[in-house]
Symmetry: C2
Subunit: 333 residues, 2 copies
């Protein structure tokens, strides 16, 4: 076996026989990714399914998607299963997923070891860095920053959800967009090219007979359309802020989002830990953080696999990390 037994932790287990394949799952609000890999970091199977987040899709739906992704990955790897520790990287809400029921279903396809929950933010960090110390800053639908020391997440800033936090997130940007457009149509705020973009996105005609109060008809339709959504769905409008050209309102929204993400990163920074800084989430990818040396990642899939190796007592060094990353990339569609 091309692996080194971790001599530090209590997780060492005797290897009386060759270790079976290992399993890692990266469960997000939009999609779930499962990876089957060998103990020496060769990714052999990749599966993808829908939302594995119990908040966005309900615990039972999330459980079905998790199992579907795992089955697909096992099948692609022609794997007979796994008796090691399997890692499930999920947001904090992951604790609401019925893991007992998942364990029974996975047992039928040969996944017999412990199922261990890990932080999705830690998986994001580990997707971009084999090092044991550093930072991750993430802005997708939500937003957060973490500090990692000794391979563990030791500090977190934000990640408090759309109502209390998620400053600089896709939700935050989407909320700012719809409010800026409402203020524009209401003649309370500056004219912005976001208005035409949002109305087109919602299929609302910008003409139409004004109401008796002098309000454009499109404002009434915007109100109806926005309140028909779940608040968190406003995140889907975030891409419009990158399509508005030189628009000053859009530029201010982008600048404020970057400032909020810098503040979250600064809150977990400490002089003792230099980096690297891993950047995750589509919104951060589009925003960027000029001046910060970000290591961008598309999701937490590689990192979940890193955590699965470590959970089974295997040290992940740079060569193994690169082997994992490259073998997984070759599997992904």
């Amino acid at each position: 076996l091309n692996s080194i037994i971790n001599s530090r932790g209590p997780r060492i287990k005797p290897h009386n026989r060759p270790m079976t394949d290992l399993l890692a799952v990266d469960a997000g609000g939009t999609s779930t990714r499962a990876i089957v890999l060998t103990p020496d970091g060769d990714c052999r199977g990749f599966g993808r399914a829908g939302s594995g987040n119990p908040i966005s899709s309900g615990p039972d739906h999330a459980a079905r998607e998790l199992v579907a992704a795992v089955r697909e990955a096992l099948e692609q790897a022609s794997s007979r299963g796994s008796d090691g520790v399997a890692v499930f990287a999920m947001a904090g809400a992951g604790s609401r997923v019925p893991m007992d029921s998942i364990a029974v279903q996975l047992g039928r396809v040969g996944v017999l070891g412990e199922l261990r929950l890990e932080s999705d933010l830690l998986a994001t960090f580990c997707s971009g860095a084999w090092e044991l110390d550093g930072y991750a800053v993430v802005a997708g639908t939500g937003a957060a920053a973490i500090r990692v020391e000794g391979g563990r997440q030791v500090a977190v800033a934000d990640g408090l959800g759309w109502l209390l936090g998620d400053a600089g997130s896709g939700f935050g940007i989407g909320r700012r967009i719809v409010r800026a457009v409402a203020a524009d149509l209401d003649r309370r705020g500056p004219t912005t090219s976001l208005t035409a973009l949002l109305l087109a996105e919602l299929g609302i005609a910008s003409e139409g007979e004004p109401t008796g109060m002098g309000r454009p008809a499109s404002l009434g339709l915007l109100v109806d359309a926005v309140y028909a959504l779940r608040p968190i769905d406003l995140a889907r409008f975030a891409p419009l802020v990158f399509m508005a050209g030189e628009d000053e309102v859009a530029a201010a929204i982008r600048d404020d989002a970057r400032a909020a993400l810098r503040t979250s990163l600064a809150a977990v920074r400490t002089a003792e830990v230099a980096g690297p800084v891993v950047g995750g989430g589509g919104v951060l990818g589009a925003l960027g953080l000029p001046g910060v040396d970000l290591h961008p990642v598309v999701d937490g899939a590689v990192g979940a696999a890193v955590l699965a190796l470590r959970a089974n007592g295997i040290v992940v060094d740079r060569p193994m990390f690169e082997r994992m990353r490259d073998s997984l990339a070759a599997l992904r569609p």
Copy 2:
């Protein structure tokens, strides 16, 4: 009769017999007020019940409260009923109240005339001004500004609800408070005395073992408490912003709310209409708008009664307005 028949509108009706009592209702999200008055502006009965807003309490509950308030007012006035036009001042959502069912119920207690919906914002204006032209700016749970010309609401700014608008409202202030406190506890934002005030309001101890991530235990409890509320309920925390002394975070929240309300008022201002400017809602009462000559009102009760007189063809001049206001004040607990 000490009343003048309005000679302009189509609402004149022949008075073959003395007009009966008139009825006005001011229905809000927290409470509903009903007024029974004589055609010469003498308020004889006042009734109060719970929320008459179909959005905050459901259409059937709202209807029950409306009827309860009317019954109480008729009883206090020892009124035999009303066959004139009865005015119900409600937010736009008032159209979702089952007025047909209310009409049947009110018919049983002698209210036999047309039931007419009017804007709650217009009722607020008419609570503070007998004039036919001017402005109202309101900040309670929500926020809006209107321009009134010829006794009709001809322009409105904001009033777009908590997600799209309500800039400077109780909800907006409450949202800013909970986010500022979360950022303080999360060490992302400045220390603020709002933190101790909000934790006390929610019954959360500020001590407690920090989590593994170094976060105070109170932050986790705050997250649980806030997400257990309906978003609009954050408005109940708005009073804390006036209890925070010299706190800079609280001062910034108050200043931003005032600026937003000034922006809404400016959006409906026109050089042709000078004033008066009526100020409504508890949040505006506490904030004030320095430099604006606000005529404060506690609610839309007097204004609903003004609208009821006008709906029955009666002109409300200053003496009649003052008689209404003073006779209603004498009835209120």
